[in-house]
């Protein structure tokens, strides 16, 4: 039989028992919808997590530290010189690192503990410099109140939520969800605070002792305008120090604040050195190579690139599980197809007998039942994708309302890529055809004499 005739007869047969076939098709649609819903949730969460993690800088960042740093003395490394002979982590080293292949930027991590005065009250906190590039690639500033620094070296400051609370004298109730960040920011934005810090200044050469570098520490203060209040600690994933006040990195550098590394370094080099340098790499896959290059230069380097592998593994497992749960509904639906088609054989036993008596081959009869199963799979699959997509939009909408109420930024936890749409319809057709295997074979083998025996 020609394909047109098989399709035509199959559609005619489906229309004959439209109620039963519709129920079966709805069963398939629900199965496909649950599969699509589960997988698109998995994919959406994975994309959300990768986006967040990428922005967190966790996976594309290598942190370089000096091997002179006393904290690194325990590490017994075979590659590179011993700590005493290793180079200093200064501006020259930063520029060299920045020119390594695959490196987007390398900036010093400037952080120091200092006193900040607000409305004449002193507060002690950790201050950190934030590169201007963080505006676009750091999720810490996503849900921020106010705005990011207006330019690279302006005397502006972004406060971390807990520090903002401290400035206003608010103590969040333990356990309770913290204060509304928008309300927290309102009285602070645009206000000024004064930061006192220790500036490291070079001594005039006359004071310098022969062959030794010398510097003095001068107490200074800087007035800073509050431009933003952020919910997250932007650096929390990168270092142990919890900074609560953020300055533009260029400003922080120009202040020549005395760095802890400068006192830790027993050689007291003449040029200022950095505690650590953050190196942002173009592609997470290049991280190990950059790490090696930095080590070759005589510095210590570390990254958390392995964590991505674990994350991908986690999501692969999650997708498999969600897929299995989603497929369960489709499996139940496939039993519905078998049932419907077996019922159809019983009901159309005589019709099959007639067709065989008229000259229909086994293949014709088999093809007809296959086409019916396939058509139910196609219609059910398409309807299921539409249903799954709708469910997804509703869940996403609901989640975002919840997130908004909790003062979290909106998020797309739902993603239905084209391959999922086509894959789900294809899978639905394949499952339906598999379900049609047994009924089709049974119909094809039907003995026409038995089928035509007078009832």
């Amino acid at each position: 039989m020609k394909l047109y005739d098989v399709t035509d007869l199959a559609v005619r047969n489906l229309r004959e028992s439209v109620f039963r076939n519709s129920l079966t098709t709805i069963g398939i649609a629900v199965g496909v919808a649950s599969l699509v819903a589960m997988l698109s949730l998995g994919i959406g969460l994975q994309q959300l997590a990768s986006r967040r993690l990428q922005k967190s800088g966790l996976f594309d960042t290598v942190v370089a530290t000096s091997r002179r740093d006393l904290r690194n003395f325990r590490e017994q490394r075979e590659d590179g010189p011993p700590p005493a002979n290793s180079p200093a982590l200064d501006e020259g080293a930063r520029q060299k690192i920045e020119h390594l292949p695959g490196v987007v930027e390398a900036y010093p991590d400037i952080r120091f503990v200092t006193e900040v005065r607000f409305e004449d009250k002193p507060h002690l906190t950790m201050v950190a410099g934030v590169p201007f590039s963080a505006k676009n690639n750091n999720d810490a500033f996503d849900g921020m109140q106010g705005s990011f620094f207006s330019s690279e070296a302006v005397p502006e400051v972004i406060l971390q939520r807990s520090f903002a609370e401290e400035l206003l004298g608010i103590t969040p109730k333990p356990g309770a969800d913290s204060t509304n960040i928008a309300e927290l920011a309102k009285p602070l934005l645009g206000k000024e605070l004064t930061m006192r810090y220790a500036e490291r200044t070079e001594l005039p050469s006359s004071v310098e002792a022969a062959g030794a570098a010398a510097y003095s520490v001068v107490s200074r203060q800087q007035v800073l305008k509050i431009v933003g209040v952020t919910d997250l600690d932007p650096e929390s994933m990168r270092g142990a120090a919890r900074a609560r006040v953020f300055l533009p990195l260029k400003l922080a550098q120009s202040l020549h604040v005395m760095q802890p590394s400068e006192t830790r370094d027993p050689s007291f080099g003449g040029t200022p050195t950095f505690t650590s340098i953050s190196v942002r790499v173009k592609d997470p896959n290049q991280v190990p190579a950059v790490e090696d290059e930095i080590k070759k230069m005589g510095f210590s380097a570390f990254s958390i690139v392995d964590a991505t592998r674990s994350m991908r593994q986690f999501f692969a497992v999650l997708d498999v599980f969600l897929g299995i749960f989603g497929s369960l509904a489709l499996a139940v639906a496939s039993i519905g197809i078998v049932n419907t088609l077996v019922m159809a054989i019983l009901e159309r036993r005589r019709e099959i007998g007639i067709m065989k008596a008229l000259g229909a081959s086994d293949a014709d009869v088999r093809g007809l039942f296959f086409a019916e199963a396939g058509a139910m799979g196609l219609i059910g699959g398409a309807a299921g994708v539409a249903l799954g997509w709708t469910i997804g939009r509703i869940i996403n909408f609901g989640t975002n309302i919840y997130l908004q109420r909790q003062h979290f930024p909106q998020a797309e936890i739902w993603s239905v890529p084209a391959w999922l749409v086509l894959g789900a319809i294809g899978f639905s057709i394949v499952v339906s055809l598999l379900s049609g295997l047994y009924p089709a074979a049974r119909a094809a083998r039907l003995d026409p004499v038995q089928a035509l025996r007078y009832e």
């Binding site: 039989m1 020609k2 047109y4 005739d5 007869l9 005619r12 047969n13 004959e16 005589r350 019709e351 007998g353 007639i354 067709m355 065989k356 008596a357 008229l358 000259g359 229909a360 081959s361 086994d362 293949a363 014709d364 026409p448 004499v449 035509l452 007078y454």
Partner: protein, 249 residues
């Protein structure tokens, strides 16, 4: 076998048997029947219920396979054909009509008559015209769009005849074609079958238990009992111009 005698021989069964196992009992539905039917003959198979006439017809129709013996139709031993070849044989070589008409209730008459052409992969533009002609020939030219249930028994059987002839088979097998019809309508159907036998030269093998009908239309009457052929007699049909083209045994 020489070519000329072979060409005039439409059906030959050689000691054909069809036995069924029913629980412990062996049912000998057809038990060693040998019969030759020439092309263009009109043969009536007569006998009581359970005599094996329908079983024999099913063997000749290629709907069933013999337990032993051979059924040779137009030179093909049906027992040796594959399922696929048997389906082709049913499609092109035989047309069948049944007591209960066996039209598909969900299809119109036109669609019912078109159905065998779908299996034969006849072009769909051609099919409609051929089916219309075939239905017009049996007097149902005005009933194309009707469903079987909207028609009388006689009309349904005529549609079934139109369908049986649509792929131009040489052999018409009829299983109690008038069994569900009143005598007047039954006669109409028999007249049609008689016409096909004469005008188209079709070989007709008809199962019936109505001796009178057989006597009126058939050129030969074979009586069966308990799966055996008990007699096979030539008949001079009462119907006009119904002398079989071939001789009788």
């Amino acid at each position: 076998m020489d070519g000329s005698s072979q060409s005039s021989l439409a059906i030959r069964t050689e000691n054909v048997c069809r036995h069924y196992q029913m629980g412990q009992a062996l049912v000998r539905a057809v038990d060693g029947i040998s019969i030759d039917i020439r092309a263009g003959e009109f043969v009536a198979l007569l006998g009581a219920s359970g005599s094996g006439k329908s079983s024999l017809l099913n063997l000749v129709a290629g709907l069933d396979r013999p337990t032993s013996g051979a059924v040779i139709v137009q030179g093909n031993n049906l027992a040796a054909l594959s399922r696929e070849e048997l389906a082709k044989y049913r499609l092109h070589a035989v047309g069948m009509v049944f007591q209960s008409f066996n039209l598909i209730p969900s299809m119109t008459l036109l669609e019912n008559v078109e159905l065998p052409m779908r299996f034969a992969e006849v072009d769909r533009h051609e099919r409609g015209e051929l089916a219309r002609q075939s239905l017009a020939r049996v007097g149902l030219g005005e009933r194309l769009a009707h469903r079987p249930m909207e028609l009388s028994g006689g009309e349904q059987q005529r549609a079934s005849l139109a369908r049986a002839l649509i792929n131009r088979p040489k052999l018409l097998l009829a299983d109690e074609p008038t069994g569900n019809l009143d005598s007047r309508t039954g006669s109409e159907i028999m007249e049609l079958i008689h016409t096909f036998n004469h005008s188209l030269g079709m070989t007709v093998l008809m199962v019936t238990h109505e001796q009178a009908l057989a006597e009126k239309y058939a050129g030969r009457m074979a009586h069966l009992a308990d799966g055996k052929l008990i007699d096979d007699l030539p008949n001079t049909p009462a119907a006009p111009a119904s002398a079989p083209p071939g001789g009788t045994q």
